[in-house]
Point group: C3
Amino acid sequence: MMENKVFLSFAFYSTILILKMYVVAIITGQVRLRKKAFANPEDALRNGGLQFYRQDPDVERCRRAHRNDMENIFPFLFLGAVYSLLDPSPTVARIHFLIFCVGRIVHTIAYLLQLRAPTRSVAYSVAQLPCFSMALQILLATTPYWN
Amino acid sequence: MMENKVFLSFAFYSTILILKMYVVAIITGQVRLRKKAFANPEDALRNGGLQFYRQDPDVERCRRAHRNDMENIFPFLFLGAVYSLLDPSPTVARIHFLIFCVGRIVHTIAYLLQLRAPTRSVAYSVAQLPCFSMALQILLATTPYWN
Amino acid sequence: MMENKVFLSFAFYSTILILKMYVVAIITGQVRLRKKAFANPEDALRNGGLQFYRQDPDVERCRRAHRNDMENIFPFLFLGAVYSLLDPSPTVARIHFLIFCVGRIVHTIAYLLQLRAPTRSVAYSVAQLPCFSMALQILLATTPYWN
């Protein structure tokens, strides 16, 4: 598999996106500390008192961005891996991965910086295009096994 | 891997389930627009005003269905892939995948259409059976490496 | 792949962690029943009445633990699989997997038993170390394909 050029390209972009998700998690933690808004009483107690066991709109925004990543990046990790095994054109495959990767990075930036709608939705939709394309190609490739 | 009949079958059912999850995401967006209930102020502003930056029970229901999918379908993507490499009987493997796939589709329908309890819980439990079966088979197959 | 000792070790620890997540899901359901706090009106109706369609802090705690697992264990399933293909030292690889596995189990125990901060955060951070290490090694291994 590590001699499959398409798989290597897929592994590279996927790892970038996982690191991007880790960054969102770190930002969430930083916003919690800065805004003093903790999800657990034991965290609040360690950081000034139970009054900081509370929600905060900025923290919730980070969590929505993170959740949307889970909803979309995790399926990509599966679709991209199987698609890489279908022996696609390396150039076409890279375009798939690149569009998804850029789309998801723009999505995160638009979410966290609260960019004007529909920036975030457009980034989401663009990133879904290669996913649908890969899903359809997988379904076609597995046709002989449909029944 | 693409010559492994079990893996192809697994890839087929998994892709169907990922597409199903994308459908839940699309439905969530449609319900947000119809009920005018947006998760972000910037979305509400674009769709009539800040008063639509609010929660809605129907939207929350879609989100719970989606989250439950993440909790269960994503682990299946891993378990099914490794199980496919264990050289199981193609028929037995297909039964595993099919039960999970049908169970999860029924789960989503029961969730979104608010079918009477315990329809949804039963669908969830049935879908977990092949997952537990695959997990146990993986543990047994990796026994020589337990220490 | 099933002759790759590192992959077998990875498959073992990953399956343990997926089963651990299933246990969190089961605990969540048990706490819902015990505290009579259901996420859906149809579930509440079946369990005593609509007044039990409500949130509960203990249920929310379980759900936060489960969500944190999704945010961290699912990326590990990807990173560990690709890392296993990089032909690492079996001993070094096992140390990566073991640290992650133990870190995540401690994280869950600290979350559910509400252990004093920062037990949970330390477990989370320790478990992230092998993930960052594997991510960096994947990026280095895919260098020739960066452009």
